[in-house]
Point group: C2
Chain length 413, copies 2
C-alpha cells in the first residue's frame, strides 16, 4: 500500500503568506473602497532594468534560429554565467572561486529547500529565531524536526533567539548541533552581523565540525563597511560554509527566477558510517544532475546582463531606490515613537509592536485602520512574537502614502 511521508501532515496546514493573503482578501471583499497598500511579502515592484530586458530579447532571438538555438544546458549553469559571477560578484571582495563551485538555479528558495537532500537525516539543525520558514519546513519534510510543541518550536530543532536583548546577534548554541542556517542581512529582522561577529561563527563551525548554510540573498542591500557581503570574506569559511545567493531582490528577478549556490570544493563532510570524508560539491552536483535540468538559457543571459558595467549601475539604482524607501519607513515609524530595527543594510524594517499588542493583533490593526499589509513577526518563529515586518520593496508613492497615513494615526490605542 503506497504511503505518504508523514512529516508532511505534521506541518501546520497553511503557509504564512497564504494566511496573510486570505485575511487581506477577506478585508478587501468587505471594504471594496479601501486602498490597501502591501508592505508584507518581500516582493519587488520596479520593472526589470534596460540591460536585462535587452538581453532577454537578444537571447530570445537566438532561440529562434537553429544555428544559435540552445537545447539542454549544463545542469550546473552555463560557464558564461558562473565565470562572470566568479569575476564580478566575488573577486571584488577578494574571494577566489572556481566556476565549478557555483551552481546556477531557479532561485535561493529551491536551493535552500533542496539542500537537505544531500545531508544526513540524523543531523541536528539550528536556526536563528525568527527565521525564513523554508529552512524549518524543509527540515520537517526531511525527517529532522521532530514534533511541533505548543510553544511553536520543533523538538529536534535548536532555536537561537535574535532579539533586541542580544542586538540580534545569535549566541553560539549550548547543545551539540551539526548544521546551522545563518541569513545575513537577515530576513525577517533586517539586521546584520559584522565581520567579527560572523568570524565567531566560522571559528565555531571549524572547531565543532558544523556546516553553515549561509543565505546571502540580501547582500546587495548592505551599506555599512563592516558588514560582510559573503561568508567567504571570513578566513577559512570555505571549509565549513555553503552560500546561497539570488537575483530576486538584487535585480528584481522574483518573477524571472535565478539564483546560485556556492559549494566550495574544500568543504568536506563525514559519512554517516565510516570515517570517509566526502566533498559536498560533488554531492550537490550529483543532486542537481539527477533532479534538475538547468535554468533557462534566456534567464541565465538576463542574469549575466546584471554584471555588465551598465547592468551594475542599473542594479545599484534599484537598490538605492528601495533603500530610500527603507529610510522613509524607518524614520516615519521612529517619528511616531516606534522602536525599529533593520532597514540600514536590508530592505526589511522590524518594528516592535506597542505594549499589549501581539504580532497578529498589530497586523490586523494596521490592515483595518490604515489599510497597510505587513507581516506578523510571529509567522517567522516564536522570537518574532511582538514584532511586525515592513518591506521597503514597494514603490515610492505607496511607501510615502502608507507613512503619511501612519503619521496621523494613534498606533498605540
Amino acid at each position: 500500500m503506497a504511503k505518504i511521508n508523514d512529516n508532511f501532515i505534521k506541518l501546520p496546514e497553511s503557509y504564512l503568506f497564504s494566511d496573510i493573503s486570505k485575511k487581506v482578501n477577506t478585508y478587501k471583499t468587505e471594504h471594496p473602497e479601501a486602498k490597501v497598500i502591501r508592505m508584507g511579502i518581500g516582493d519587488v515592484t520596479l520593472p526589470l532594468t534596460g540591460e536585462v530586458i535587452q538581453s532577454l530579447h537578444a537571447a530570445t532571438d537566438e532561440m529562434a534560429q537553429a544555428a544559435t538555438f540552445k537545447g539542454y544546458g549544463p545542469e550546473q549553469g552555463y560557464r558564461f554565467l558562473t565565470e562572470t559571477i566568479v569575476k564580478e560578484a566575488y573577486l571584488p571582495l577578494g574571494i577566489q572561486l572556481d566556476p565549478e563551485e557555483i551552481f546556477i538555479s531557479d532561485g535561493a528558495k529551491s536551493d535552500t529547500g533542496n539542500f537537505g537532500d544531500i545531508l544526513s537525516k540524523e543531523n541536528r539543525i539550528a536556526v536563528t529565531d525568527p527565521v525564513y520558514p523554508v529552512y524549518i519546513d524543509s527540515n520537517v519534510m526531511g525527517y529532522r524536526a521532530g514534533e511541533l510543541g505548543s510553544n511553536g518550536k520543533w523538538s529536534n530543532i535548536v532555536y537561537l533567539p535574535c532579539t533586541p536583548d542580544n542586538n540580534f546577534v545569535p549566541a553560539l548554541p549550548q547543545e551539540k548541533i551539526d548544521v546551522v542556517y545563518l541569513c545575513f542581512p537577515n530576513n525577517p529582522t533586517g539586521t546584520t552581523l559584522t565581520r567579527d561577529q560572523l568570524k565567531v561563527w566560522v571559528d565555531y563551525a571549524i572547531k565543532n565540525d558544523v556546516l553553515i548554510l549561509f543565505d546571502a540573498a540580501y547582500e546587495a542591500f548592505i551599506t555599512e563597511k563592516e558588514v560582510p557581503h559573503s561568508i567567504y570574506e571570513i578566513e577559512n569559511a570555505k571549509k565549513v560554509a555553503v552560500e546561497f545567493r539570488s537575483f530576486s531582490k538584487t535585480a528584481g528577478f522574483t518573477g524571472t527566477r535565478c539564483g546560485y549556490t556556492v559549494v566550495p570544493k574544500e568543504l568536506l563532510l563525514s559519512c554517516e558510517e565510516g570515517d570517509k570524508k566526502v566533498s559536498l560539491n560533488k554531492l550537490w552536483n550529483r543532486r542537481q544532475c539527477t533532479k534538475f535540468n538547468g535554468t533557462p538559457y534566456i534567464i541565465q543571459k538576463a542574469a549575466e546582463a546584471t554584471f555588465s558595467p551598465k547592468g551594475k549601475e542599473e542594479v545599484k539604482a534599484l537598490i538605492d531606490y528601495y533603500m530610500s524607501n527603507a529610510k522613509i519607513i524607518r524614520e516615519s515609524l521612529e517619528n511616531i515613537g516606534m522602536k525599529v530595527f533593520g532597514g540600514v543594510n536590508s530592505p526589511y524594517i522590524w518594528m516592535k509592536t506597542p505594549e499589549g499588542f501581539s504580532s497578529w493583533e498589530m497586523f490586523d490593526k494596521l490592515l483595518k485602520e490604515v489599510n497597510i499589509v505587513t507581516t506578523p513577526g510571529v509567522g517567522f518563529g516564536p522570537s518574532g512574537e511582538g514584532f511586525i515586518r515592513f518591506s521597503a520593496l514597494g514603490n515610492r508613492e505607496d511607501t510615502l502614502e502608507a507613512m503619511e497615513r501612519i503619521k496621523h494615526w494613534n498606533i498605540k490605542k
Copy 2:
C-alpha cells in the same frame, strides 16, 4: 559533526550522459577531422516556433514596465496556463481536470525527481527495465533503493523487464509493490502500451493500493489511435495515478524549461501510521510552496503560446519533422538487417545489437567507424543490455547523412 546522506555515495560516480560525453570528447580530440553526428542524448535541434518567440518578446516587454511587471507568481503556476492546459491538453481527450490539479514546473525531470519528497521512505518501488535513470537515482537518494548488486540492480527496487520477449509490455509484479513508474511512450525503448494494456495497470493499482507515477513526456509523438495520450483516458485512473508532462520534446523547450504535473484531488494515499487517508494534491502543493518559487512568468507565457491555434500547428510541424526522421532511421536500420523497435509513437528507435556485441561495444563501434553517437541501452538498466538507442530529434541533414554512412557499412563485423 555534520554528516552527508550516505545514499549519495552508493550511486555510481557518474551519470550516463556524462560518460558518453567524455567518450565523444576523447574521440573528437584524437580525430579532430571527424564529423561526429549526435544521435545520443534526446535533445531537440529545431528552434523555438514563431508563436513562442513572439510570446517571449511580448512577455519580456511586460516585464519592462512597472504597470505590467510580474514579481512572485503562484508556486503552482499561473492560472492562464493551468486553465489552458485543462482546456487544450485534456478536454480534447475527454478528460475533465480542475486547474488546481495541475502544477507548472521547470520540467518533468525536476518533478519526477522531487516527487519522492512526499512519499514514505518505506514504499517499495517498481520500475520498468530499461528505464530513465532519474526514477532510480532519485529513489536511491530517497532511501528506497537498498544496495546496488553486481547484476546492476538495486536490492529493494523491483525491475519489470521490457524486452522483445514480452513485446515491451511489462508484466504485473509478482511481489508486493507500493509505487510504480510507467513511462509511455517509453524512454528509452520508444514503445507504447495500448489503452487495454494500460487499463491492466490501472486496475491492478486500484486493487492493490499502488501509486502509478506516469511519465507522459512523449505523448505528443503518438501517431496510433489505440495508444493513450494520458493515463486519465483510463477509467478511474485519477484514483491512483500522477501524470508528468513536459514542453521539452513537444515544443522544443529543453533549454527553455517548462513542464507540469497532474495530481488529481481524488488521489488519496495512506499515512505511514494510522488509518488516515491524505490527498496527494495537498501534499505536492505544500512541497512546491516550500521548495519552489514558480516557473518564470515569461516562460509560462511561452508555454501558453504553444496552445494557440497557430501554436498548435507549429508544434505539430515540429513533431512531424522529428517523426519523419524516426521513419528514416527505422527504415535505414531495417534495410541493413537490424531488428528495431519504437520510432512509431516516439522519437526513439531501440535497436538490437548484432549477435556478440554488448551495448557499449556497439556504441564504440558506431562512434569510431561511422562517427555516430548513440546511447548504449545498458545505461538505462540491465534489460537494456544488447540494445542501442537512436534519437530522431536531430536535424534532417544529419539524420540523412548518418543513415547514408550506415548504408555502406558492415555493422555486423
